[in-house]
């Protein structure tokens, strides 16, 4: 280990690099080589290119230099030619030579400028050029110009003479030219030098190029060689070595000896796999070894048949392979609870039995307690040594292996090994534990079984002997059986007797039942009679009711009639009075007389009418009473004054007396009081011929008060007005009759004294209204006295009628009688009925109302046409297009119904919306005939406007009419919310914010669904429903949407109208939608109006009163509906307590249907409580229960029910049960 870093440190740079290369994967290695070669080639190429570049530059410079040389040479030649031409010209005085000179001179100039161009890069040469230029100029000055001038001058030939002068000129020119030439030559010399160096550069470049190519080739050769060598070293060689190892490995494996495992390339991987494989092979070999040992161990162990033999076998099989020098086997003795040595190996067996260990004691016990193998190494020197014939040896390791089978300790093996433990040996020991433990346990068990078998064998021996004694007992039993059998025969006889007596009993019961039956029959007969009586009473009551109604109708009729009559009479009286007075004096006396008679008759008639009116008002309870303070003194004086002259003219005494006890004032209706008293006084004077008439005012006495039958009135609180006369008197048998209307004592009297004969009836009626009474006393020939007794203080609320009620009652009569007189709006000129324009047709015979309708329509700019009869209406409909029709029913010719039918029958007018506005309240008929709506008079302005809306824009048309929902809620927000919620239903939603609006709407139109909030500002929703159903308005399906919870009573009431009750809350909207859409999509309304009573109305129970007690609404209503259609009267109670109260307050209940399963007090208990009361002991009770078992029926009967009916109820069966018990 310590060497490795040194090795690496030694060859550090190289070996590290090699290691790195070796670690590269194969692909990476190849890449590396190819990459290196590539770089080499690129470098060589680049170097070569650079050399080439340099060569090119050098060559260019060489050429340049050549050019300069060549140019300089030519310039020199040109110079020479110039001189030659000039000299020849001069010498030959030939002017033509000047041409040739000119040509050369130009060439020189061109060449010179070329030279200058070429020399620009060389400053030395440039200076020289400068100099050459100067010299040339000198030459030009000194030679060229004078020569040219001479040649050109016209006296060329004269000048020829001065030859010396000419020569001087030419020489001059030659010397200048010479220095010029010298410069040029020097210049060429310089260029030559340059040329030489440049050629040298060129040569060097070529040599360099060659060197580079050679070097590149060399390098390529070397690296290729290196790559080949590396491949062999790094790949081929290792692979070959590894492959050589394979046969070795498969033979037995040398996992540790495999090289190259450190490498990280494929070779390393290969080596590692090989090493894994080698390990596997190694392990397999170890396994095989262990298995072989175990197999032989198992074989040896199987042969053992005692614990000792087993221990021996175990140790013999284990010690040699484990290299153990000695070993001891301990057996678990379950009885003693300790380990006991039973076999040994390598040591003497002499003192084995003394070696015992409890669990946890010593190492032997400890390994049991810990349930695992314990090893000890190194072994202390004091420990036993392994002895052989030649010497002794210290063991290396001690092992203690506990043997457990199925969690039970079986034994322990102790081994002393001479060698340190190897993994393989530990494995063998570990694996040997379980099978040997199991085998040992099996051995122990089979030894134990053998023991037990011995014990059983001895026990069966004992059994056999006891059987003997049993047989003897059996024989004894048999004889006692004999005795028993005879006794049972006796019993049988007795039971036969029992059956007989039972039979007798049954017979008795039969008789009893018979008796019962007769009794029941009798009681049924009684009941039947009672029923008849009841029925008779019912008829009587109905008659009375009819009578009462008839008389009320009569009074109403009278009231209406007299009203109608008085109006014309008024004018009659006024006119006849005028005539009778004869103011113009143009009438004959007999004519005046006639007029007076007419007037008197008219007055009488008016009086009669007034009386009839009063009477009818009194009778119909419509007389208005106001209470005020009436001073008695004033009242008395007034009467005295009124009748004083009558008394005088009849020559009668008239006294008015006020008693001392009379109060100052009384509180009553003064007018009515006056009317009564005047009436009485008038009568008294009428029927008295001589004597006196007295009015006495004072407290009535006890006697007359009693007689008056005014309960609760005491003398101190009453006041009496007594009118007495000394007239003809009234026969006693007529005393009552005089108070009847239209009756007098005898008709003769009436004729004699005049008068309508209604006075007393009216007076008595009024007295009643004032809370008092009117009585008469009389004796024929002596006189009569009438006593009016009134309470001193009229308490209006307590009086028979109060003012507001009277007013309320009077109003509709008046409204119905008097036609709406004044139009509310100014008259509207009727739109001329142009043929094309569609109009709203108003059919109304009441002109002023028609005017109002037209006015309202005009407000909405609807053109109208008004007609007043049915015939006109139909004519108009045929003539012009109609927007719609407002139709009255009570028309002078044909009825509005007919008009409607005809309109709907004609194709042209079928689609025209018709709205009925009428006093008739037969709403449904109009809607059934196809009207879009109905309004009942009297109408409000708003309702007319709404009707107009409906007519002009009726909701859709034809079959696909949208469903209509009436939404009644006082809260605007919640109406909006519901409207939003119902949007998907595309229903037409009408809103009402209180009960009266809702009521009007429901009376006027048909709806498919009514959504009703219960808490309305005017009348509660519940009351609204009650009211409407009482009024016979057919209700659409109702969905109650309530913001508050409901009491059980309210629910019970509501349940008559609907099952759909939604309490507002988070999930309520979805339910509301659900309920409403159920109704909107229903093909037939779920609540068909109560079907007519079916044919099976059971006569004998009809009209009987049944109490249904059930906590479940659905049951209650199903039952009560079924019973009601069979004409039974039904009362409901929702629990036992309510049932008791209902029974208390309805003594007429004939039968009780009692549910059993109820909260609080259940049905059994309720029945028991009912039976506790004497008067209900016989009340028939039928228990109604969902329980259907035999025991249940009995329990009901035990609790006191008479009969029992199982749910679901079969109504026919229930009816027959009811019939039996009623």
């Amino acid at each position: 280990m310590a060497e490795a870093p040194a090795e690496i440190a030694e060859g550090a740079p190289l070996s590290q690099l090699r290691r790195w290369v070796a670690d590269l994967s194969l692909l990476a290695k190849f890449r590396l080589i190819i990459f290196a070669l590539l770089i080499l080639f690129v470098c060589a190429g680049l170097a070569f290119l650079m050399v080439q570049q340099r060569e090119t530059v050098a060559r260019r410079w060489t050429v340049h230099t050549y050019q300069a040389l060549w140019t300089a040479e030519r310039a020199e030649t040109a110079l020479l030619n110039m001189r030659l031409s000039l000299r020849d010209g001069l010498l030959g005085a030939d002017a033509s030579k000047i041409e040739a000179f000119q040509v050369e001179s130009d060439r020189y100039d061109a060449l010179f400028s070329e030279l200058r161009e070429l020399m620009r890069d060389n400053p030395v040469q440039e200076v020289r050029l400068e100099r050459i230029e100067n010299l040339k100029r000198d030459w030009d000055e000194g030679f060229v110009r004078p020569s040219v001038e001479r040649l050109r001058s016209p006296d060329l030939l004269q000048q020829k003479r001065s030859a010396d002068d000419l020569l001087a000129l030419i020489n001059n020119g030659s010397s200048a030219l010479g220095s010029l030439q010298g410069e040029l030559t020097q210049m060429r010399a310089v260029e030559h030098g340059l040329l030489a160096t440049r050629i040298g550069v060129l040569d060097r470049a070529a040599a360099l190029g060659r060197d580079v190519v050679l070097l590149a080739l060399l390098l390529a050769l070397i690296s290729t060689l290196y790559a080949l060598i590396a491949a062999r070293r790094l790949l081929a060689e290792p692979l070959r070595r590894l492959i050589q190892l394979i046969p070795d490995i498969s033979a037995g494996g040398h996992a540790a000896a495999i090289p190259y495992r450190w490498r990280r390339d494929e070779v390393g991987e290969f080596a590692r796999s090989l090493s894994a494989l080698a390990k596997l092979v190694e392990g397999r070999a170890g396994d095989d070894w262990v298995k072989t040992r175990l197999a032989s161990l198992a074989g040896d162990l199987q042969l053992a048949d005692t614990h000792e033999a087993f221990g021996d076998a175990l140790l013999r099989s284990l010690c040699p392979p484990l290299d153990a020098g000695y070993g001891v086997a301990y057996r678990w003795d379950a009885l003693a609870g300790e380990l006991q040595a039973c076999a040994s190996y390598g040591v003497s067996a002499a003192d084995l039995s003394s070696r015992k260990f409890k669990p946890g004691q010593g190492l032997v016990g400890q390994c049991v307690a810990e349930k695992r193998t314990l090893s000890l190494s190194p072994v202390p020197p004091t420990y036993l040594k392994v002895v052989s014939g030649l010497g002794s040896m210290m063991p290396d390791t001690l092992s203690f292996a506990p043997l457990f089978s199925r969690g039970e300790i079986v034994g322990v093996v102790e081994l002393a090994s001479l060698k340190p433990p190897s993994a393989l040996r530990a494995e063998l020991l570990a694996q040997a534990r379980a099978p040997s433990a199991l085998a040992w346990q099996t051995l122990a068990r089979s030894l134990r079984t053998a023991e037990l078998l011995d014990v059983t064998r001895s026990q069966s021996e004992e059994l056999r002997s006891s059987e003997e004694s049993l047989r003897i007992q059996q024989e004894e039993l048999q004889s006692s059986n004999e005795a028993l059998r005879s006794r049972s025969q006796l019993l049988e006889q007795q039971s036969g007797q029992l059956i007989a007596s039972e039979e007798e009993l049954r017979a008795q019961a039969e008789e009893l039942r018979l008796a019962n039956e007769t009794l029941r029959e009798r009681s049924t007969a009684l009941r039947a009679r009672q029923a008849e009586l009841e029925a008779a009473r019912g008829t009587l009551e109905r008659h009375a009711e009819q009578l009462e109604r008839a008389s009320r109708y009569k009074s109403e009729f009278l009231a209406n009639m007299s009203h109608e009559l008085r109006t014309p009479l008024n004018s009659l009286l006024i006119l006849s009075k005028g005539l009778a007075d004869n103011e113009d004096g143009n009438l004959q006396p007999d004519q005046v007389e006639s007029a007076r008679i007419v007037h008197d008759a008219g007055r009488n008639l008016l009086q009669l009418i007034n009386d009839i009116l009063d009477l009818s008002k009194v009778e119909a309870g419509r007389m208005l009473v106001v209470s005020e303070d009436v001073g008695l003194r004033g009242f008395a004086t007034l009467q005295e004054r009124n009748f004083r002259h009558v008394a005088r003219s009849h020559d009668l005494e008239f006294k008015v007396v006020i008693g001392d006890d009379a109060p100052q004032t009384v509180r009553t209706d003064g007018t009515r009081l006056g009317q009564i008293v005047v009436n009485l006084l008038a009568n008294a004077f009428k029927f008295t011929e001589k004597g006196s008439v007295t009015l006495h005012i004072g407290r009535p006495d006890e006697e007359s008060l009693r007689h008056a039958g005014l309960a609760g009135l005491v003398p101190g609180r009453a006041i009496g007005f007594k009118v007495s006369d000394t007239g003809i008197g009234i026969p006693p048998d007529r005393l009552d009759a005089i108070f009847q209307p239209f009756e007098q004592v005898d008709s003769g009297t009436a004729r004699r004294f005049g008068g309508t004969g209604l006075g007393l009836s009216i007076a008595r009626g009024m007295a009643g209204l004032l809370g008092g009474s009117l009585q008469a006393h009389s004796a024929i020939g002596v006189g009569s006295s009438f006593l009016l007794i009134l309470p001193e203080r009229l308490d209006v609320a307590g009086a028979a009628i109060d003012a507001s009620a009277a007013v309320a009652a009077e109003v509709p009569t008046a409204a119905a009688t008097s036609r709406p007189a004044e139009p509310l709006e100014p008259s509207y000129a009727q739109a001329p009925a142009s043929d094309e324009r569609a109009v709203l047709l108003i059919v109304e015979d009441d002109a002023s109302f028609a005017n109002i309708l037209a006015g309202l329509a005009a407000r909405k700019s609807i053109p109208t046409r008004v007609v007043s009869s049915g015939a006109e209406a139909l004519k108009a409909a045929a003539e012009m297009p109609l927007l719609g029709v407002l139709l009255d029913i009570g028309l002078p010719d044909i009825s509005g119904w007919q008009v409607l039918q005809q309109l709907k029958a004609l194709p042209a007018t079928q689609q025209v919306p018709v709205h009925i506005i009428s006093a008739s309240d037969d709403l449904d008929r109009g809607l059934a005939l196809g009207a879009v709506g109905v309004l009942t008079k009297p109408v409000s302005r708003e309702s007319v406007l709404a009707a107009l809306d409906r007519v002009i824009a009726p909701g859709g048309d034809g079959a696909a009419a949208p469903r209509r929902v009436l939404l009644v809620d006082d809260d605007l927000g919640s109406r909006a919310a519901v409207r939003k919620l119902l949007e998907p239903e595309t229903a037409q939603i009408e809103e009402a914010q209180n009960a009266s609006e809702a009521s009007t709407a429901l009376r006027a139109r048909r709806f498919d669904c009514l959504i009703l909030d219960l808490g309305l500002p005017d009348v509660s929703g519940l009351d609204l429903l009650d009211e409407l159903s009482a009024a016979g308005v057919s209700l659409p399906p109702v969905v109650v949407y309530s913001g508050r919870e409901l009491s059980p009573d309210e629910m019970l009431r509501l349940r008559q109208y609907t099952e759909s009750i939604v309490i507002k809350g988070s999930r309520a909207p979805e339910r509301l939608l659900d309920e409403v859409s159920l109704f909107l999509h229903a093909l037939t309304p779920p609540r068909s109006a109560g079907a007519a009573a079916p044919a099976d109305v059971v006569r004998d129970v009809a009209g009987r009163h049944v109490l249904i007690v059930d906590d479940d609404m659905r049951n209650i209503f199903a039952l009560s509906k079924a019973l009601r259609t069979r004409k039974l009267e039904v009362t409901m109670a929702q629990d036992g307590y309510k049932a008791l109260t209902q029974l208390d307050s309805n003594p007429g209940i004939d039968l009780v249907l009692m549910d059993i399963m109820m909260p609080g007090m259940d049905g059994y208990e309720t029945i028991r409580r009912i039976r506790e009361r004497d008067q209900w002991k016989q009340l028939p009770i039928i228990a109604v229960t969902a329980k259907a078992m035999t025991g249940d029926r009995e329990r009901c009967l035990q609790a006191g029910a008479n009969d029992y009916c199982a749910k679901p109820i079969d109504i026919d069966q229930l009816m027959s049960q009811i019939r039996v018990w009623i």
Partner: protein, 276 residues
Amino acid sequence: MDLQSRQDIEIGLFMQALRLRHGYDFAGYARASFNRRVRALAEASGAASISALTERLIHDEPFLAEVIGRLSVPVSEMFRNPPVFDLLRREVLPVLASYPQINIWQAGCAHGEEAYSMAILLKEAGLYARARIYATDISELALERARAGIYPLREAQLFSSNYLQAGGSGSLSDWYTAAYQHIKLDQALAERITFANHNLAADGVFGEMHLILCRNVLIYFGEPLQQRALALFRDSLVRGGFLCLGDRERPSEPRFAQDFGAIAPGASVFRRVTAR
């Protein structure tokens, strides 16, 4: 003849006796479970054989209650299977709140644990005042204990943890008092509970219901009897009413799927489908 088939005959006779003598028909019960119950009954009542049991059944009137009590399996817990109660609280109660009166039928109420749990749910939702719980069972003995509302103290822990898992807002101990190793539920909870005897195998509909809980009862029934019970529930429920079955109870018959739909996929709460 082997013991097994002899015992089968005995049980058949016992069943017949029960029907003829007392009107209880167990023929529709799941056979194997019923047989076990009978054997257990024989063992518990110290009868030498099932025939001996039959004999006693016929002659010993008060014995019936014990027989029925032992044949039924009145085991339950408060807020058993808490997620179901959570679901009821979150999804079902808000809908029920829209009814003016809420009728709940707890069929097979055992010792009343579920009925009281329901009462607590309603109380906490503020709906108890207008609710009625009908808790029914076939066993009079079980009903007796249910009325008492007393449970062993050792169960309180389980109940409490169920309650919390069911999303309870307070503590279950608000609803009971503990003494003598028992807990007694607040009597106010029983105020609107009607405990009554009702046999799903024989008796009829007794009222209109908005929610029916019948958990772990159908498992004891054979197919036709289950169908009968479900028909009872269907007829009792209002349109849109709820039915809560046990977790293992998913009736497979087509009629059920027609009448009921689960309120959430896989939930054991169903809603009576609106018939249109």
